[in-house]
């Protein structure tokens, strides 16, 4: 009973792939040294990386001076070695970078504002946290008013602190936050106006939006600083910071409206028609049906606009408002800290702050985007 045919009863265990196609060597080969060109790209990239990272690390940490009280401590003659960053300079100027010339005994007001803002902001950013509506009302409605009185003072027994004494990161954050608070409602109105059925209103909004989007921010700031006072009654003495805020809000509002318009356009016609069929008027339809959906779609776009706004706040230094970058440049001029490394130290410090803040916001936008896209599909 022999059979000529052989049928294997058991499968042969698959043999291991060639050693060159799995694990680290394969990865190295495929991703880094696949071809001569690939290898060259790897080598050049590695060289560029090394050329960038090593001097940075040396400057920021290895060669840096950590203790000292004046410029002398950061001079090569004193330290007797190449000098990197002069961190005592940052330590000495830290209060100015954070608060400008806000009176030292009143700084607690700024800190309190930050703490309240953070306490309200963080739960707002966490999708799972409860009481979103209340939270939003507190953050966008109550907090700005409270912050205004807390920072400006002159009421409730708090001494008045002029905005000219504000500076540093405080001004950067105030302009960013006020820009956001002002530009979103303005953007919504402009976006609605641009999609309105009333031709005159639509044209007005189109011209308004395109005007502010067509000119550079710096000319807007020049406009707000030098031209606006001419157009207002003489009795209105606009504070320089307030003038700049108006310019920033108009500018950011125009950009915001285009982002929001994108969201409005993405809402299917059926939603409008259904709302109408239910007997909702224009404002109710917008407030309860269209905008909640439209705004949700454009959150990533809006957050990107916020990052742009945050970065753009640096421009106020050109109209003599001392934001973080402006305060930094003012500090460069302090004779007590005049050393060859002062300027680079300042840039390193400010660069890290700017990078961290906008990087974190952009990562958050990405996170929301992913969340939204998984929610919408299927």
């Amino acid at each position: 009973m022999t059979s000529a045919t052989f049928v294997r009863q058991q499968l042969i265990a698959p043999s291991n792939p060639p050693a060159s196609s799995v694990g680290t060597p394969a990865w190295l080969r495929q991703k880094l040294f696949g071809s001569a060109l690939n290898a060259a790209a790897t080598v050049i990239s590695a060289l560029i990386l090394a050329a960038l990272i090593w001097p940075t690390v040396r400057f920021m940490f290895i060669d840096a001076v950590w203790d000292g009280s004046s410029r002398v401590d950061c001079l090569e003659e004193t330290v007797k070695r190449p000098v990197g960053a002069c961190w005592p300079f940052i330590a000495a100027k830290f209060a100015q970078f954070m608060y400008g010339f806000y009176p030292a005994d009143q700084v607690w007001r700024v800190n309190l504002t930050y703490v309240v803002g953070l306490v309200l902001l963080v739960p707002l950013l966490i999708p799972r946290a409860p009481w979103k509506t209340l939270n939003a009302v507190l953050f966008f409605g109550v907090f700005p008013v409270a912050a205004f009185y807390l920072l400006v003072g002159g009421r409730f027994g708090l001494p008045h602190v002029e905005t000219r004494q504000w500076g540093g990161l405080l001004v950067t954050l105030v302009i960013t936050f006020a820009g956001i608070i002002g530009s979103v409602p303005l953007g919504i109105l402009l976006a609605l106006g641009r999609r309105s059925s009333l031709p005159l209103l639509r044209w007005f909004c189109v011209v308004f939006i395109e005007f502010w989007r067509g000119v550079p921010l710096i000319t807007v700031l020049f406009f707000a600083t030098y031209m606006l006072p001419f157009f207002l009654p003489e009795s209105w003495k606009l504070d320089p910071l307030a003038r700049v805020l108006i310019g920033v809000i108009l500018f950011a509002g125009a950009y915001m409206s285009e982002v929001i318009r994108g969201g409005l356009q993405a809402i299917p016609r059926g939603q409008f028609e259904a709302a109408r069929a239910l007997g909702l008027g224009y404002w109710k339809m917008m407030a309860f049906v269209v905008l909640p959906q439209a705004l949700k779609i454009v959150i990533p776009g809006m957050v990107n606009s916020f990052i742009a706004l945050f970065k753009d706040t640096t421009l106020v230094l050109i109209v003599a408002i001392f934001d973080l970058l402006g305060q930094l440049r003012a500090a460069f001029a302090d004779p007590n800290w005049a050393t060859p490394v002062t300027v680079l130290t300042g840039f390193a410090f400010a660069g890290v702050i700017y990078f961290i803040i906008s990087f974190v916001i952009s990562r958050y936008a990405l996170y929301v985007e992913r969340r939204l896209s998984t929610g919408v599909a299927h």
Partner: protein, 335 residues
């Protein structure tokens, strides 16, 4: 919509706080402090330290006004102003006096009142010692750093053209940028008012490598400014300056003030308010000069302390000597 209006309203409200007022002295007394506009950081004239304490010649002048009014030189709030927008706060009443190395010119005097000259200045040049230049007339072909939108830029153009020399101007928006560009080697020379040259020189990391050339190419009398239409306040600020000058002329300083109060000399007695009511006539207390000299010092002391040869700036008195000592500082008498 309401929120927009609310925010805008708030923003406007920040600005509506100050109103022009004809009774500045009363406003200052009621407020309990003087608000003084100064520069944003010019060593020797007005400069904040790391803790925000202000020092300098312009600052001390503000302190002298506070001392005269309140008998307390600390009752001053300093408002740092950029050169470009120093006049607007004065016009709006946000500040009571502008003490910010401001040149007295006819067009400015048409709109404001200059109380006098705290410092006689003129535009000059700073160069690197290594260039071995001894005169501004040797600067043919040089690159010059200057602040844009100032009279400095125009004087510079006039000077080089009048002397048939070529130059390249590199203009920046602020004094700090200008000096930093000069320091990094962008320019051969740096030009601005001489007092400011001394002050900016301190901001250089190797101040000793630089030298200020002897030529002065313009007249820049610097003085405090007040609003028009308030003669009483104009007088008060003016006589604070004259009081300081008279005190120096009569040899009364913060060290000798107690002795001087026992003096029999009629001029000194009048000045210190021992005889007559000269202070009251001006709206000041009778012993206003005593208060100024005791708390702040006479003109010579303030000059020496902040910008004089014993200070870090090391400027010699020159034109700013009293008229009795070969200078042109001269105050009307108190009588």
């Amino acid at each position: 919509m309401k929120r927009v209006i609310g925010v805008l309203g708030l923003a406007l409200a920040i600005g509506l706080s100050g109103q022009a007022d004809a009774q500045t002295l009363k406003t200052v007394r009621d407020r309990g402090s003087l608000v003084c506009g100064v520069s944003q950081g010019l060593p020797g004239f007005s400069n904040p330290d790391d803790k925000g304490n202000w020092t300098g010649l312009d600052v001390d002048f503000c302190r002298a006004i506070a001392a005269a009014i309140f008998n307390d030189p600390t009752k001053v709030k300093f408002t740092p102003l950029a050169a470009k927008d120093r006049f607007e706060p004065l016009r709006s009443g946000e500040i009571d006096v502008l003490s910010r190395n401001t040149t007295w010119t006819s067009s400015r005097d048409a709109v404001f009142n200059f109380v006098g000259v705290v410092y006689y200045d003129g535009q000059g040049f700073m160069v690197r010692k290594a260039l071995k230049v001894n005169s501004a007339l040797e600067l043919n072909g040089a690159s010059v750093c200057a602040q844009s939108g100032t009279t400095t830029e125009l004087n510079l153009a006039d000077y080089f053209r009048a002397n048939n020399m070529k130059y390249e101007i590199v203009a920046f928006g602020t004094a700090d940028e200008t000096i930093k560009a000069y320091e990094s080697g962008r320019c051969d020379a740096f030009t601005t008012d001489v007092s400011q040259l001394y002050s900016e020189k301190l901001k250089l990391s190797n101040a000793n490598d630089h030298v200020i050339l002897p030529e002065v190419i313009s007249k820049e009398p610097l003085g405090p400014v007040v609003r028009q239409g308030d003669d009483q306040w104009f007088d008060v600020v003016k006589w604070v300056l004259f009081g300081m000058l008279n005190a120096e002329e009569l040899g009364v300083s913060s060290k000798t003030i107690d002795e001087a109060l026992k003096s029999k000399q009629p001029e000194i007695r009048r000045m210190l308010g021992l005889d007559g009511t000269h202070g009251e006539q001006l709206g000041l207390p009778r012993d206003w000069v005593v208060r100024i000299v005791r708390h702040v010092g006479n003109y010579g002391e303030i000059f020496e302390r902040n910008v004089g040869t014993s200070s870090r700036l090391g400027i010699s008195r020159g034109l700013n000597r009293l008229w009795t000592k070969g200078g042109i500082q001269y105050a009307p008498p108190i009588r």
